[in-house]
């Protein structure tokens, strides 16, 4: 079999070629390539720490304050890891805050608390996964738009949470749960909730970057039609993704119960916005096809640190909100520029 192989095969040098030299060797084999965007976010975090250390040197850098910042980041951080998966697949989950609320109140009813630690943890997780299941079924098999389906879940889960509590705070009386939040439970100075967050982050990173599940998530977000024609079960993948997001919400709800010592129907208010914002400034594409767990976690840390610095300096929360908004805009502008530089319209 002779191949004609004309010399013209080296056809058409592509215009985007100039933007690719960094993507060769450093990408493999470990895939630990640090995104430029992650580096810049790390820079932002460093600047924030410097600002905090400069304005309130004694308070900001105190161990107890750092423990507080990390603990606060943990709850929303776990939610953001789940959100990152959903957004990477081209979806959105607006119901995370409401699911956290519902799971936290369901897990702290008098009846549930009778089953102790395990009962609370189990209920929180099952409620979270259950809500995710409903989201997933509606979106994957009911062909609803994720925005609408999860918006509906937002409304109804919050409503159900209010109904369960009747607006009252449900105090937790199970000591083994409360003990997780006290200083005595810290391991080498690290609060257990932060360890949970770290574990979820590591597992999330591994799943997104090291498993077929993660790869399929990226494929569905990058080009759902191509994924379908390549033989991937796109619908089942979508269902799993909302289940995963619900699971993260359940875990976060349990963490919030530990932190607050109670369950409230107002828990997790606006978590959806914080989680989406953190994922986006981290570098996950809202249109899907690209996601980074490390970026999302950095995004969460940036937001939590800002909140902390503003609180320490007694600045109004209004200023805080403005600063957050400005960071989101700046991050997305950088993202657009990066994409355009990579030759995408």
């Amino acid at each position: 079999m002779t191949q004609p192989a004309p010399p013209a095969q080296q056809d058409a040098p592509m215009p985007a070629a100039k933007s690719t030299p960094d993507k060769g060797g450093s990408r493999r084999p470990l895939g630990l390539r640090m995104d430029v965007r992650n580096l810049s976010l790390l820079g932002v975090l460093a600047v924030l720490v410097a600002v905090g250390g400069f304005t309130k040197p004694d308070e900001f850098l105190a161990t107890s304050n750092l423990q507080l910042v990390l603990t606060q980041a943990s709850v929303i951080g776990v939610v953001t890891v789940g959100m990152t998966f959903v957004i990477t697949s081209g979806g959105i989950d607006l119901s995370v805050g409401a699911i956290v609320a519902l799971a936290s109140v369901w897990a702290t009813t008098v009846a549930t608390q009778e089953f102790g630690f395990a009962g609370i943890l189990f209920t929180a997780v099952v409620v979270g996964v259950g809500c995710g299941l409903v989201n997933g079924l509606l979106i994957a098999y009911g062909r609803m738009v994720p925005f609408i389906a999860t918006l509906a879940m937002l409304a109804s889960a919050r409503g159900l949470a209010l109904q369960i509590t009747d607006g009252k705070t449900q105090i937790v009386t199970v000591d083994s749960v409360l003990d997780l939040g006290v200083r005595d439970a810290y391991i080498l100075g690290i609060p257990p909730l932060v360890l949970v967050f770290a574990a979820v982050t590591v597992i999330g990173w591994l799943v997104l970057n090291r498993t077929t599940f993660g790869r399929r998530t990226v494929a569905v977000g990058g080009n759902a039609e191509a994924a379908r024609l390549a033989g991937i079960d796109v619908r089942r993948q979508r269902l799993y993704l909302y289940l995963l997001s619900g699971l993260c919400c359940g875990i976060a709800a349990f963490m919030l119960i530990v932190l607050a010592g109670s369950g409230q129907n107002t828990n997790g208010n606006l978590y959806e916005l914080d989680a989406i914002a953190a994922a986006i400034i981290g570098g996950t594409l809202l249109s899907g096809g690209r996601g980074t767990i490390v970026g999302s976690v950095l995004g969460v840390l940036v937001f939590t640190t800002i909140t902390n610095i503003f609180a320490l300096n007694n600045l109004e929360s209004a200023v805080q909100q403005i600063a957050k908004g400005a960071i989101i805009v700046a991050a997305v502008l950088v993202q657009h520029r990066t994409l355009r530089g990579a030759g995408e319209a």
């Binding site: 592509m14 790869r215 379908r228 390549a230 319209a345």
Partner: protein, 507 residues
């Protein structure tokens, strides 16, 4: 019409997108008052050309001369100001606005610069509709409530609401009934009598002779014929220009042994049907055999492939692989049974454009590189590299981003995906679309080699020489039906073109 200076002259227009050169030095010349037909297969560059003309795309190089002056069409507004109006195939009307609001969208008659004078707009719209012979359309009705034909008229009214000298119509007749088409052509006649030029894009060859003055044929981003007289050029020549070879392709030799005699078919299609798309199709595909489906756009070629693949659910009939019937409408079942598809639209249906070659190639085989869901990146990359090397994909770098590859190499990545999977039946839909001429011969050789190695290949192509040169057997399709089946060596291009067009009024 030679003495008059042309209204519009485009020369040497080039436009590249990542991975493909959509326009490669196209010339177009339009006279005032003529209907200039622009012909070409899907992907020939027609849409890109009219988008350049509409100011929606900026050409990489080339010159546009409008009424004797070189111009640059920086934006759609710039083009509109010059008097160039474009009616797109997918009507760009706002369904939630009224007819008059759509017609004057962007240039509403106003008082004091910002108060919309709704009455003036409605009156002017009524006049435009009258001129178009459709005074029955109420200017205050919502566009979303109108029929497709009436929406087309509204689009036309919008074009005429500007001081227009050139109207570009992208397949205006595609959504229309015959008598609506008659009305459209009557309007076109009126416009050209007023000195307005019309650039008309259509797949319906008989329309060219009805209303066209001259014809420009595009193929692979080049103008293969500029300004042919529409009346005296035989339809067959036009089709030959659209589908034919403009270079001598080098086709690989067929094996001596006829595959048909030896083996059991690996793929059997029995009476497969989809209402409105294609009539019951029967075909058999044996290992080592390449079967071609020839036909014009709209003959049901791609639909048949996608239905075999399960991407469309069949209304009737069966698909059997090695004697076992596949459940209808399941891509996964087809893939598991050993069918692979290289889809028509590589970028939107085939590839993950943000990802590397490796990740595109391994997409259908992920489970092979994983244990309990954990991916072995090294094994994945090595396997992808081996598969792409076998097809001499360049660059030989599995980490290269797929979008930086040329069209031919992107197609090889799609083929590598199925080779890696080890499929038995390969469905190729326009495998050389957007592939540079030089790279085609290599792709042909690859396809033939895969067949020699025992793959069964079902090939769809709108290029008749490609089907005849590459396939062992050819099925000719017209309007959703197989009208002829023959050994490729017994057919020639003219015979196929006759079969493909048979029954069309101008043949």
């Amino acid at each position: 019409m030679a003495p008059e200076p042309p209204l519009l002259t485009m020369s040497g227009i080039t436009k590249s997108f990542p991975g493909v050169r959509a326009l490669d030095g196209v010339d177009l010349e339009v006279q005032a008052g003529e209907v200039h037909c622009l012909l070409g297969q899907n992907g020939a560059g027609k849409s890109t050309l009219i988008k350049v003309l509409a100011g929606a795309h900026q050409p990489d190089s080339g010159e546009i001369i409008w009424r004797g002056e070189p111009v640059s069409l920086r934006s759609p507004i710039a083009a509109m100001r010059l008097g160039i109006a474009t009616i797109y195939q997918e009507l760009d009307l706002v369904e939630g606005l009224s007819v008059a609001e759509n017609v004057f969208l962007g240039h509403e008659p106003t008082s004091a610069g910002f108060v919309v004078r709704g009455f003036a707009a409605r009156t002017a719209t009524a006049e435009l509709l009258q001129r178009l012979g459709h005074s029955e359309i109420d200017p205050s009705r919502l566009v979303g409530d109108l029929s497709a034909a009436h929406q087309q008229i509204v689009s036309m009214a919008r074009a005429l609401s500007h001081d227009v000298r050139l109207i570009v119509m992208d397949e205006p007749s595609a959504a229309l009934d015959p008598d609506e088409v008659d009305n459209l052509f009557r309007i076109v006649g009126d416009l050209t009598a007023d000195g307005v030029a019309v650039v008309h894009i259509s797949h319906r060859l008989e329309e060219i002779r009805r209303i066209g003055d001259r014809v420009t044929v595009l193929k692979d981003g080049r103008a293969v014929a500029v300004g042919l007289p529409a009346e005296s050029t035989p339809t067959r020549d036009v089709v030959a220009l659209m589908t034919g070879r403009n270079v001598e392709y080098v086709f690989p030799e067929r094996p001596d042994k006829p595959a048909t005699a030896v083996k059991e078919p690996v793929l059997r299609v029995e009476g497969l049907t989809r209402r409105g798309e294609f009539a019951p199709v029967h075909l058999e595909l044996r290992p080592g055999e390449i079967v071609g489906l020839a036909g014009l756009v709209g003959s049901g070629r791609s639909e048949i492939l996608e239905t075999i693949y399960g991407a469309r659910r069949a209304d009737g009939g069966r698909v059997l692989v090695d004697g076992a019937a596949l459940p209808p409408g399941s891509v996964r079942a087809a893939v598991r049974a050993g069918i692979g598809l290289a889809p028509e639209e590589r970028k939107t249906q085939g590839l993950l454009m943000l990802e590397s070659v490796t990740r595109n190639v391994s997409l259908s085989t992920l489970s092979r590189f994983s244990r309990a869901g954990w991916l072995d990146h090294r094994a994945e990359r090595a396997a992808a590299q081996q598969a792409t090397r076998g097809l001499s994909l360049r660059p030989d770098n599995p980490d290269a981003r797929i979008r930086t590859l040329s069209g031919g190499n992107q197609q090889k990545a799609v083929l590598a995906r199925w080779l890696l999977r080890g499929c038995k039946v390969l469905l190729l839909d326009e495998p050389t679309r957007g592939v540079d001429v030089g790279a085609r011969a290599e792709l042909y050789a690859v396809i033939r080699r895969l067949a020699d190695e025992g793959l069964a290949v079902l090939l769809v192509s709108s290029e008749v020489p490609e089907v005849l040169g590459l396939a062992d057997r050819v099925l000719v399709l017209r309007e959703g039906s197989v009208v002829h089946t023959a050994d490729a060596r017994e057919l020639d291009e003219h015979r196929v073109l006759d079969l493909v067009m048979e029954g069309s009024p101008s043949a």
